[in-house]
Symmetry: D3
Subunit: 338 residues, 6 copies
């Protein structure tokens, strides 16, 4: 039973947590969360580089890689309060998109079947198809709602003559029945894509997409309240798919298809944390972090924190906390251990 | 009749729209908008590089350069709903500021005279002088209001011993009578320039300048409501002059005189779109994008989107739309063409 | 009496103000403010480079280095309305943290004793210990409140086996009695550090730390109102310690330990200016600007403006102004000197 | 008959030469050289980005894109003395390596069949397989010698479970019989790849590979004399395959698998020019220029000049020149046209 | 008598040497060398940025700016053995090329008339016209030979409709008679510019231009021996004009018109030093260092060392040394002062 | 017995070789080579960042981190033919130079005492003092010759008031008697440091320093022949200390004190390999790789290859090979294992 490990670079784990081996279920028995890398950028329509996303997200920090990250805000240490393991990367060859999709779907389905929550580090957004399908195979086709943060709808039909790519996974998911159209929530869309025909198709599927004009006008909080209510209605779990390009390129330059006018980092982190705390998350991916276009690793740091905020929310939810975002940091603390 | 084309690099057009030739009016008859590049950086007081702005703004996108950009928010495809052509660059030699100004003024006046709206891609802000003068020659001296987004007032008198440069065009415009001082609106000023004497001169001209403290305190929306009312009062058209440094340097690093503490990209895009939709825009420039100081093209992308948002607002206005920014993206859509 | 000058690079002063020599009190007699550089990065736990912070902060501007900066917003020219001098750098060897701390403390105490306000340009945050101690030696131990902008609490006990470093100065300050725990206000904390034991210790000291969740939920303005009231209660002066990483890494990438989700540049500048205007500031430092990780100098520009906003607030306070942030820029101005 | 044009970015041609359309033979009748882009990076084992190689190589210049480049050294203007056309890019999807290879092979075979010399701009080295196969289909399997500049042998068998990729094309070419092993010359190999088994296989094929130690010890000139003699023996044409990583990473940083210790730019340019002048070149590719890792476009410039030097050598050969590299630049010139 | 100082950034001098003021001859009486900055980039045909060349060249060093640089190789301390002063920058406005040229010519002529050797820090190569003319006004029209290191001949006639620019100064110098064509030596030309007509004109002037093919084939040493002999024949002094783009872009990326295949840094430094030692140098410029395109300041360092090597050669020549390049560093040294 | 591991970032080993723990001798019993990181940059006089050198050097490769690197040139797989282990980093605090030096000396002495060759990855050159002292403690004070590649002599006496730093280790080594002055060979010195007094001191110690002028004039090969003969005379081992700044900054920009005009990468790699093959190497360090100033990791790659070339030479020496640098790569190979 050998661990495949890292596809590019040294074999490291997310901030030093323990590794596990997908082929050996004993290594992740009783895990709450299994992180797995999907170092694939063969599906991008423009700038590549997300193949280095998994290693960048795993290591982007200035603290020791000691498998501990106590959240100031949530008062949990997700990496310790939960059993979080890192299965390394799935081997994915950029030149073989179908084979790569299959490999990820198997890995995610295996993790979900074990009872753990899969957290997939992309890679480009192509992998949302196998990520969510893998989860749906366990929880039931059409039984998992999706909340999708992105500048782009990713509901294209055929691009460059192919059915798969980073602009099409959401369409494939609805076509296959893995997700119900009316349980597919999109946050942060903007710009000039896709075309009206595709938007019509999306409307026909009863998708609910929050473009930035709506978000700015109504407020992100109100939009999320509404989206969460839809997501929770008649579902058995929620999948969070976070494309880092939902954040403004100024705060997340390391990505392939930057669209100006996005959320702030603060808004995204607060929202992800809240969703993980308030919803029954059964899977997650963080995609489109492209280190070659990053500066001073700031996008990699953001990707790392998206994962940590989600895990912290999850840990607080499991502990049965109530969440008081306005509570002063030091309130109720004290009497330090010497 | 030969097209001058591009001053630097290959001859491309804005996102693949059709070219036209300024010397040949037949090529832009019935155009709604003519884009023209002003690759001039001979007027900057600090970092140069805006000569590459026109080509960067024209090509900064991840989608195909196919002359189509359907706006999610405005529900128009400005590049198709309007007839938008690209006249290439005006030849401008950095070492000859007077000659360069004259060349741009002629180009803009020619476009305006044809009935099309000129959209000038800078270049440094020196070109606001010929841009706005060229428009005023057609619409009437003093008949065009100006809304000017910038961190700087650009009302200097003499810099480095010269009357022209990127810090002085607004003064020259008022002196010549091209624009009335009390129809000159400035949004986003901040920092430590110009000096009190110049501010006194501006006040004497009855300019209305919104510094960031006022904008933050009162809210951008309220300030813009007020500015728009002034601009519309007794005018025959409005010129938008957008210096990308009005945005915070974190979100627009590729510029020559960055001043911390600016608008967000989202704020600027929303505002430009709104102005183009609600005001009778007769000309526009987007200036001070300096690719050598950019990172991962994020400032070039922003410049491109400023143009697209303005064109989208214009197209929606021409169609007679009402604008509902809070309307859900997919509301009223559906039944996709197979 | 020779001036030590610059530790790295040419000997320049902050935007061209006059130099002074610490060993020669006559050179800074009657100064209101003395700027001094602390080019030390031997205390960082991760990315170094802040040794170049003082020179970067001093020179990051596009205007002439002429010792004049009239603030649009505050209507003062701090560099002229106040007597602001630049003493150059303290010699500090990265490899000798104790010696470096001592050297800075002496320099700051000397400036404070002269009656001037010391403004220290870091350097890493290690220097807050000597900065604040030096001021406290003059104003009284425990008599100076501290308002500390930072993503991190900097209250670690021992790191890498040492008592000193950029993560520990605030603990040392409370231990020594230089500052009272209940007069230590922290703004902008976030992320996953320090650990709960350290938070307990902080609570035991009655520190008041505003984490970003609280700031976002309650609003920065309300939090600052509260913090200012605490700071003013039974104190003889306030020290402002501004770690540039309190700002989001997208807007301040040039720093060593970036933590996503921070304040905007605009928020920090507005707040610093307000504090300097409303509180009896007796010292200040601006730290953790790390040029090797910066892009297009935007973090250096931000550091420069943090100093200028503080000085402008101070100048306005000394003049006895009332502050009307919403007042239009040109209101009450006019009749330019020809 | 529509031209596919550019896969990424605007549709430009190599330095402004005329375009042609592969589907329309009339557009390249009588062409001497047809340039075609292969914007594929789905085969790379490490850093991607070569998909932007074709556009970067086409446009990397500071002179006007006017379809003229008079060589100082060769006294020809290859772009005018020869009929050189640019067919744009072949559509290649990174996620489909087999389909992409097929598409390039067809394009190259079509060009070769027309009598023109195909010059393929990569893309990663995967494309050497279709490039050379396409040429061999016209000139005869086993009838074309290959001179291959590279840090790497590219003779791997299976990588990431696949037969195709940028480390394997040369093996596939020998297996298929497209090229004879004893007419395959490699220049510039170094480092620690491939493994001894692969080297044994190469020796079994009677390949001739010049590692840098041999080149440094014997001299590049002597090695090339020998290689050229082998290449010319019993062959009907020579294909030049130039991987830019044969040059030292210091002079060609914009590439995916940099191996220190390579040739200088000067050495490569001189050698390519000489080969094109002295050998019957029937095809060429320039690969592995990866703009995301480039700095100030220096690697793109180098790729552009590799093409120009080859074309200049070819033009001089066609004109029947003798070549005197030591002849003074101005010798035999004079009497300028006024 | 006020010193103009620096046009951009703080007023610094070359490595901390003493300043002088051009308007005040007493400040540079008895100077051997006067350094002056020409921060002009209004004449470039492509990438600007050389306006920051003077400050970058002045300060690019890791040692203290103490006005001392003992050359290991030449055994002199040029900054101390000679009286070398820095006059600051000439004010030059990019938008006014004629005015800028005039200003530099006056400054250089003033320095030359004082008996000092002017060393001009560019700036783009436009300034060679006033640099050399200014020197010729003192030493006699046609009495000064020029040795010109460059990738480009800079003998264009009219570019962008103008007589002046960075591609034309050498033509203007010959036309005016400032320099004799047969005393104009060019080293390092390569690439595809200028066109044959211009080369014919150059030949008609009896210029001697060493293209890289000749240099590589014959050896740099032999070419320089020949060039030096020509330069010395019937002349009263030699001017060295060093365009940093003569070096390969891999070693000098920070420049505007990079041409692959140049000299190594080592070759240029050795040659400049030798020329300064063996020839009667009466003036020098170092041009085309463009910091915005530089990386880690390596091109600025190179520019700084070009100046230092020339000054070191000059100092050794003045001392009447013989030069033994192969002499071991420590040969003949010893007995350290404690 | 816990392994300290990595001081910054994840705990990785050199290209995936097995780890060992310094505190547990059993883990490196029978090792031939033990690699150890010295992530210290507290001793630099200018740009820091070498603390990230060890991790960068360990991981800079495009091949799998599988603990195997078969050298094409030397026909050995050093990582497998030798037993090479990686002990991780020594904990070193930048702010405590004395403590850090002591810690490294103990680590190196421990490795040397075990019979393994220590290879230390820096870090700044301060660590040469403990590296060589640690080796000398085992092999005998004065019994180990040193061959030192560097642009700088590193024989300063006191810098910034301290005895230790990256410019002084060689002086301390001679003072302590760890190395004999007449067995200290320096290769590649150049520039303007140190001052004549220090050079006199060096001469007094009978050091032999090859400045670049001598190397260029006599040839590197001849200089190295001479240096090797000196090193071998009456010594028990040779230590190689390689400062990456011996290479030209164009090819090694990622360093703190770049000095133009250095060796090429090819020259350094060939020379290091030869020394390791021909001399009895007993220790080595590779220092001054500073990732914050690197581009596209090219300096990190170079650092990695310096280690690999040395190990390859060592492995070939141990196997008793003769070395034929001109032997064709495939000569004597063949009959591949299927």
């Amino acid at each position: 039973m050998s661990r495949y490990g890292a596809m590019f670079g040294p074999d490291i784990t997310f901030l030093g947590i323990d590794p596990c081996t997908l082929d050996d279920p004993a290594t992740y028995r009783d895990a709450d969360v299994v992180i797995v890398g999907a170092p694939f950028d063969g599906g991008v329509s423009h700038r590549p580089g997300t193949r280095f996303g998994p290693s960048a997200i795993r290591s982007a920090d200035y603290l020791a890689h000691d498998g501990s990250r106590p959240s100031l805000s949530m008062r949990v240490d997700a990496l310790r309060d939960l059993r979080v393991l890192d299965a390394g990367d799935v081997e994915m060859f950029a030149g073989d998109i179908e084979g790569s999709i299959t490999a990820v779907e198997e890995a995610v389905a295996t993790i979900a079947a074990s009872g753990a929550i899969p957290v997939v580090l992309g890679g480009d957004h192509t992998i949302a198809l196998p990520d969510i399908t893998g989860v749906a195979r366990h929880h039931g086709m059409g039984r998992v709602s999706v909340i999708h943060f992105d500048a782009h709808a990713d509901t294209g039909h055929i691009e460059f003559g192919h059915l798969h790519g980073h602009g099409q996974p959401m369409r494939r998911l609805l076509e296959s029945g893995a997700v119900r159209g009316d349980r597919f929530l999109q946050i942060g869309l903007r710009g000039y894509w896709p075309d009206p025909d595709t938007l019509d198709w999306m409307a026909d599927q009863h998708m609910r997409s929050y473009e930035m004009s709506e978000i700015v006008t109504r407020g992100l909080q109100e939009c999320m309240d509404e989206a969460m209510a839809i997501a929770l209605d008649d579902c058995d779990g929620v999948f969070l798919s976070v494309d880092v390009d939902v954040v403004d390129p100024g705060m997340a330059p390391g990505t392939g298809t930057p669209e100006p006018g996005g959320l702030t980092s603060r808004q995204l982190l607060d929202t992800v944390r809240r969703l993980a705390f308030e919803l029954p998350v059964v899977g997650m991916d963080v995609v489109e972090v492209s280190p070659p276009y990053d500066h001073a690793d700031i996008t990699a740091f953001l990707g790392n924190r998206i994962v940590l905020e989600a895990l912290s929310g999850l840990a607080a939810r499991r502990r049965g906390d109530t969440w008081q975002p306005a509570r002063p940091l030091l309130d109720g603390r004290g009497t330090a251990t010497p």
